[in-house]
Amino acid sequence: MEQLANPDQREEKRNLDDGRTWFSTPAAWVGLILLGGGGAVAFFSEDRLQRFLQSYLFAYTFFLTLALGALFFVLISHLTRAGWSVTLRRLAEDLAVCLWLSALLFVPIILGLGHLYEWARPEIVANDALLQEKEAYLNVPFFILRWVFYFTVWIGLAHYFYRLSGQQDETGDPALTLRMERLSAPGMLLFSLTITFASFDLLMSLDAHWFSTIFGVYFFSGMVASFFALLALLVIVIQRFGILEQSVTVEHLHDLGKLTFGFIVFWAYIAFSQYMLIWYANLPEETGWYERRQEGAWMWASLVLLVGHFFVPFLFLMSKHIKRRKGLLAAGACWVLLMHAFDLYWIIMPQKHFGEAGRIPFHPFDVVCMAGFALLFFAAGRDAMRRRCLIPQRDPRLAEALAFENES
């Protein structure tokens, strides 16, 4: 800890110092029971299996995007050689490494592909000229192959940065930083390509007739905005337990608030770009997707999304005084996360083959799956966090991060 910028700084807690392992964490068990129980209930009443899988996909995507957002933050920090964010990077490394759990939990989606995606059902493809044309890409073996590739890239990157950063805690070798920086550029390329195609596969192909080339960017914008909200929230929560009280300052929280704000605006920009081009061109093959989201109750949901995902956080997070107050920033972060979940719900649920149009198909499975995933990811994240110091304590740029200040 000789790198402390300010020698007057008193000692602070930098570890989740408890001896509990992943499996003894009750959260993980409760999470597993919720998901398993929900799945079992659905499985033994055949007609509800599809509804369960919809909820499962909804919750799955929410936590996948948060973990991918963490991986993005690690990559971009190294790519830009960021100094300010060093004290936050370890938390992102720990969250990104939870992607192994996403890979594991992807199995039920593969098993239930036919219930979620029409292109995975031969009897529908046989009568659908468009799906036959798209079969070269949208078929089950290639889908599985692609997802194996995505997870190899994501987990490979997440573990690489997790491991090297951990090694640096022991050796203090600045060459490790250079190695991480070197991988961050090709890593970012791979990351952007894989998340784009993953968004096409996971969400866009739910309506396999529809296409939007900007969809990957839309997916990315919501992912990053909500990750920054999560990181701000995580910092505020662990500081309440007396952890990282000195090394993460109000300046860092202010910047997390700014980044959340910025990506909220970016989300709105991309969401509107997608909407306006489709609305203006007015081509039937494209407008159907939005039309379904303007029927009956979904019209109100669309307006709530517009106001709640853009106008509310835009106006709320604009002021510096709000971003620099923990309670208010935490409230804003919770709101952004809630709206991100709502955004995914709005993308996933209104599908022709999921049931009648114009009705919001709320089901207790939504809550069960969300809670199950939340508990599992809480346990996995906590497990990654408790293994080591919560800041990269011998990173060569640590002093810069500790002394970081915004220009007022």
Binding site: F272, Y275, M276, W279, Y280, N282, K320, A403, E405, E407, S408
Partner: protein, 207 residues
Amino acid sequence: MDESGAKEHVDRGEFPGHRTASGVLAEFETPADLVRAAVRVREAGYRRWDAHTPFPIHGLDRAMGIKDTALGWIVLGGGIFGCLLGLWMQWWTNAVDYPFIISGKPLWSLPANIPIIFELTILFSALSAFFGMLILNGLPKHHHWAFSEDRFSRVTSDRYFISIEASDSNFDIEESRALLESAGSVGAKVVWEREHEDKLGSDNDGD
């Protein structure tokens, strides 16, 4: 050489004659000295003074007691104005003054108007940020008396300065200079109005 140079300036200041002072200019060797001195100047109650540095120094704003800028509010106002202007302009031109149907859309159709509204919001925000910044900083300023000091040119490389304006109500030639010297300046000097007139070669005001 620095030392003697500073001395010489100070000595000349001791024979003010009938000239009026522009202010006191004090030189510091390190950012830390400057920040400490800024606290002293602020605590002495000065209002019309400034610190000059080659690069931004963290904590200097707080040491000088600079209040939060009002620029954000100016930009917000500019942004709202641009937003409303874009909305009004498209409504007036396309739906009222010269109704014209474009690609089968309603005469006044919000989604089509949003890009212009957005662009005008950005444009007027940026313009108000730019001009608001200039006005709040008192720019453009073609000359400041500190520029007539040769040593002040080092402010762009390795020296730090504090200037106190003679127009400050607390200003006192001797006291202000003494304050800066006691605050760790390596050379605090009174700058006279006359000097920069000499430099400009305009000595025709009948002194």
